[in-house]
Symmetry: C2
């Protein structure tokens, strides 16, 4: 398509018979210019199909109206929900989301962060606590705000909105304990470079230790957050150390994989085995038996993170840390132990 270059502000100004500056003002704020003039300019703009050039504007204002998010793979339902919420909340304020993902690899988090900074984002949203400190160096040198999601920073240093994973995990384990379970197994998420996974696992250990119950090493296995790995992990557990009556999973995807494997092997849930997940993704209520889990308000967290970011960008102060509730949701996959 042979096209003339897009109309620029100068073209609008000329068409409206005003100066560049007036055209700029007329388009920017209602109050800066006489009403008649403004209408003339706006008319000219829409006549010409004028679209402001964000890069030029960003250069002049040092503000891109863009915020970056560095996320783990967003095909994980929990991150998808948060991404959607962030994009939506930002859009309501005229901001757009620049999304960069990495597969839990610190070096690649650094790389994509740098890319985002080069794109002149006005702020950056990060997930969790584990990362190469270089990331913080880069963003603070850029002089833009950042927000951590998902985790609560124990040092109290980083601005964050998150959930108390360990405590919630203790709660989940207690629920099973209250049902009489004593033989536990765990399918944890990868704990390397993932503080949430570590905290959740630590919560299980903590709750068990408080009751002097042993968690045998063969009863703990890690898996990536995908169904096939969950199934394989469950199989491994069964093979290495059968006899457990309660299974705590690092998240719902892992739990649903375990559930599927139970169905396949004819293991009754919760009759023979109680299963508990973490996150409360949509599907948790859709599987059979419906999954008992810890609800993490991912969408709400996304909205809050975006809102906080916007506040920071506007130069306003906000409370440093914001804890969201993570509550136990008892459904059908957990039940009393049967001797």
């Amino acid at each position: 398509m042979a096209r003339r270059p897009n109309p620029k502000l100068a073209d609008v100004a000329r068409a409206a018979g005003v100066s560049l500056a007036t055209a700029s003002r007329a388009l920017a704020g209602p109050a800066l210019v006489r009403r008649e003039t403004r209408e003339r300019v706006q008319g000219a703009a829409s006549m010409l199909g004028y679209v402001p050039h964000g890069a030029a504007r960003a250069l002049a204002t040092r503000r891109s109206r863009t915020v970056g998010a560095v996320f783990p793979p967003v095909d994980n339902p929990i991150f998808a929900a948060a991404t959607q919420a962030i994009a939506h909340e930002l859009a309501a304020s005229g901001y757009t989301l620049l999304l960069a993902t990495h597969e839990y690899i610190p070096a690649s988090e650094v790389a994509v962060t740098r890319t985002l900074i080069e794109r002149a984002v006005d702020g950056i949203v990060l997930v969790g606590l584990d990362r190469d400190p270089e990331v913080y160096r880069i963003v603070s040198q850029a002089g833009i705000p950042y927000e951590l999601m998902w985790s609560l920073d124990p040092s109290g240093f980083h601005p964050c909105v998150g959930v108390a994973h360990r405590i919630a995990s203790v709660r989940a384990t207690q629920h099973l304990l209250e049902l009489g379970h004593r033989e536990f197994a765990v399918i944890a998420g990868r704990t390397a470079h993932n503080d949430r996974s570590r905290e959740r696992l630590a919560g299980v250990r903590e709750a068990l230790a408080a009751r002097a119950i042993e968690l045998r090493p063969e009863r703990v296995v890690e898996a990536d957050f995908v169904l096939p790995q969950a199934r394989a992990a469950f199989g491994a557990l069964l093979e290495r150390a059968p006899g457990f009556t309660a299974l705590v999973c690092g998240n719902d995807v892992l739990a649903i994989g375990a559930l599927a494997e139970c169905a396949r092997r004819g293991i009754a849930v919760p009759g023979a085995l109680s299963v508990i997940g973490f996150d409360d993704i949509d599907m948790a209520s859709g599987v059979t038996p419906a999954l008992t889990t810890i609800r993490v308000p991912a969408a709400e967290m996304g909205r809050r993170a975006a809102a906080r970011m916007l506040e920071r960008i506007a130069g306003r102060e906000i409370e440093r840390a914001e804890e969201l509730p993570a509550s136990l949701v008892v459904r059908a996959s957990s039940g009393p132990v049967r001797p």
Copy 2:
């Protein structure tokens, strides 16, 4: 944090004792400058922690290294998978994804598209066929390429990578027909502003019509792509026109909701009712019974869309339409009709 303004190229140039132009070249391409000079410049750049300013670069090169995607809510697993794939594929080429979502509302698609254009994206990815033509006007006036995903443009006009929804839906229905089913019901996705939903529904009608089987109007109901609506829709079907033995769903989320409701009501699947979905999201294999469905290669589609976009941006020609296979995946939720 009180910060000095970020180092700019001029600072690097000064530190390296070369001109602005030379510094720019040294950082850009290896071949433009004497090796020794280049190393000096690069040294200075990393000393100062120099990060190029994308907006300035975009202004000068008229290229932002950014592509926009206008998507339905990405908390729909199928869009999440595609989003992840696009972001990943783009990143491999130094591009970043600007993500904008809308809730199947034409006017808001127009609005977010305009926003993306203002952000100076180099290209734009759209989903499906149904939209306000204004969208095309805006993007073609911007002079940037666009790619359609998910659907195949029957007019052959729009560049696209997608799947033949109607044909796949016919195939799904035939599968049920082959199992002996004659009494059908459908939970369709919203058909307004959604060509995929319409085509999928049309496919069911087409396959049934070919066998002169009636699809009673009370046996067709629409729902948004969320579990609670799916359950409600299934309940409505049961109430209005019970007696069907096969249920075709507009996507897997809808099907899983129906499955959950079956479990709750004690309806045996596939004993008393066969259920088929569409998309083959991850969870489709994780529910019990595992869901029979049509596999839509969402991630692959995302990769292809991104790759095609990159080709277009590079000014290369590509084939206008690319069809990806959508194949029937028979699992456990469908079975022979039992009289």
